[in-house]
């Protein structure tokens, strides 16, 4: 019974989560505001100086070149920001009485979680559209063709999916909503130690090795290649591999946390 109805129950739970997003939009707005703030800060405050240091411009790079450089990083920070909100939303949901009711019902239990994940991916979609609009408003222009854009959208969805499974697990593992809002903070820090804002070559050894090998770097490099119409190379496969791995671990972890019968 549980497996037969997994899809139907997940759709029902997705509808529930979409209603929540509509009823409580202030959290979602905050989550989009953060990457937009970073975008404005980096383009207008640091952009002039940073643009000059970009490789491949012979020191003649400017603010608009820097905007092109950081756009992929900002988009991925948008995804991470919404994922952070999902940890909070999941932890909050677990404190409500209706979760106990779900546990006494003959439904596909994991649908409670898939509802959160699918809802969050849709929410991420909206957030990415808003932030992309801002990026264009600031003067970003892309050489990417239809193929590049479709690839970028697909990759962002996949990244959203994987980060969300991870943060749903963090939301379930947290003993309070406050903890749930703190543990995923590293997702907002990691893009700074990646190729998002400066080329990794500029970093000291050690830090540089970390930056080059952490999951956000191939994701950002792939997105950058897709958006500028450049070849993605091996970064694409690395990025996809990381997404699959994070999704799988996040899913298994969340599932185990949610399915265990509480001891008290």
């Amino acid at each position: 019974m549980s497996t037969t109805y997994a899809v139907k129950d997940s759709a029902t739970m997705l509808r529930r989560n979409l209603l929540h997003i509509r009823r409580y939009p202030s959290l979602s707005i905050m989550l989009v505001a953060q990457p937009i703030l970073f975008l404005l800060l980096f383009v207008y405050v640091f952009g002039g100086t940073m643009g000059a240091g970009l490789p491949g411009h012979e020191g003649a790079g400017d603010r608009s070149d820097y905007l092109v450089y950081i756009a992929p990083g900002i988009l991925i920070m948008t995804v991470a920001s919404v994922a952070l909100g999902t940890a909070i939303a999941t932890a909050t949901d677990m404190t409500t009485g209706i979760i106990a009711r779900f546990r006494t019902m003959d439904i596909a239990r994991v649908s409670v979680l898939t509802g959160h994940v699918l809802g969050a991916v849709i929410k991420t979609g909206f957030a990415v559209v808003i932030v992309t609009a801002f990026v264009f408003l600031l003067g970003f222009r892309s050489d990417a063709g239809m193929f590049g854009w479709l690839g970028a959208i697909g990759l962002l969805i996949l990244i959203a999916f994987s980060l969300t499974w991870l943060t749903v697990g963090m939301g379930l593992a947290a003993d309070s909503v406050e903890t749930a809002s703190n543990t995923p903070m590293f997702l907002m820090i990691l893009p700074f130690i990646s190729s998002a804002f400066v080329p990794t070559d500029a970093m000291p050894p050690g830090l540089r090795q970390f930056a080059e090998n952490q999951p956000f770097t191939p994701m950002i490099d792939t997105l950058r290649a897709l958006l500028t119409g450049a070849p993605t190379g091996s970064d694409l496969w690395l990025a996809l591999g990381w997404c699959v791995l994070i999704s799988l671990l996040g899913y298994l972890w969340s599932r185990r946390l949610f399915l265990r019968v509480p001891a008290k």
């Binding site: 109805y5 529930r16 009823r23 409500t96 009485g97 546990r103 006494t104 019902m105 509480p262």
Partner: protein, 318 residues
């Protein structure tokens, strides 16, 4: 499951956390289509029993079958048969009443038309039509409880668990809820409810189990239990301390409240017993006089030898 099988069969149920024993060998059987009330004070283990029977908690030991299914080995079968309304509201406060009911109908896998009809029927039956499209957040306590019950009943479970369903409700809401429970029983549904109120168990239950410190200390029909309990007590308030002292001396089994100038004399409910109390009382010495029927405290005092409030699991000899 055949009609002769009981809806709930529990034998030797235990549950403990570390060395803290919550349930210490509970046996109970609830036949189909009947109402069983678990009566007991806070901390007696009532909610733990409900949580174990509804698959929310794993039992420590014991044989537990609900609707014919073993709670440990066949939880899905149990879940398909039951509906639970807990002590704390299990509604989605961000959704409207209608959306909450629809959510339950969808999760019960009712088809579209059946679900829509069921939602409308429940809104009407639970007097929520006017509030149907308001967020449940804005509902009063009574409305939340009605919505909660509607969400439990929309899937037409054969067996329902009600954990202190009327705690915190005003008298009218309480009577409404009692009426709903009776309707369910008339439809052949089995009900297990927990309560702190003897009168609630009395009104609704076919059988009552008195739970104290994790054990069933008494079980029977309301009439059987009341026969084991004195009829209640007579409460006499005196005009001065001297008269109170004199009356207290005449009734050594009574409890004295010196501040309120009140004497509580146990009473078996008979006219002769009442007359014994009244003899020796004067109109000018008595400020107020009430005859109270047995309440949970009387039941507890009679069955366990200690008042309900003092019942902590630690005090019960193993």
């Amino acid at each position: 499951m055949t009609a002769t099988n009981p809806a709930i069969e529990v034998a030797g149920l235990t549950k403990s956390y570390g060395d803290h024993t919550v349930l210490d060998g509970v046996d109970l059987t609830v036949p189909e289509g009947t109402v069983y009330a678990l009566l007991g004070p806070n901390g007696a283990g009532k909610t733990t029993v409900v949580n174990i029977l509804s698959t929310l908690l794993t039992p420590g030991a014991g044989e537990i079958r609900v609707a014919g299914f073993d709670v440990r080995r066949e939880p899905a079968g149990v879940r398909a048969a039951i509906g639970v309304t807990g002590q704390f509201s299990a509604i989605d406060e961000l959704l409207t009443g209608r959306e909450n009911l629809r959510l339950m109908a969808d999760l019960a896998h009712l088809d579209r038309t059946t679900a829509t009809t069921a939602v409308t029927v429940m809104l009407e039956r639970f007097d929520l039509v006017d509030a149907a499209d308001r967020r449940a957040q804005t509902y009063s306590g009574g409305m939340k409880r009605r919505l909660d019950l509607g969400m439990t009943l929309i899937a037409r479970p054969r067996l329902i668990f009600l954990d202190e369903p009327t705690t915190g409700l005003d008298p009218r809401s309480r009577r409404d809820l009692w009426a709903i429970v009776r309707e369910q029983v008339a439809d052949g549904v089995t009900v297990l409810l927990t309560t702190q109120y003897l009168d609630e168990a009395d009104h609704l239950a076919d059988r009552i189990g008195v739970l104290d410190g994790g054990r069933l200390v008494a079980e029977g029909t309301a009439a059987e239990l009341k026969r084991r309990v004195p009829g209640g007590h007579v409460s006499v308030q005196f005009t001065d301390a001297a008269r109170l002292a004199a009356a207290a001396a005449a009734h050594p089994d009574a409890t004295t409240d010196a501040e309120a100038l009140t004497l509580q004399v146990p009473n078996d409910g008979s006219v002769a017993g009442l007359r014994r109390v009244l003899d020796g009382l004067d109109d000018d010495g008595v400020a107020a006089l009430t005859v109270e029927s047995a309440d949970l405290d009387d039941v507890f005092l009679a069955l366990t030898g200690h008042p309900a409030e003092a019942s902590a699991p630690e005090e019960i000899p193993a």
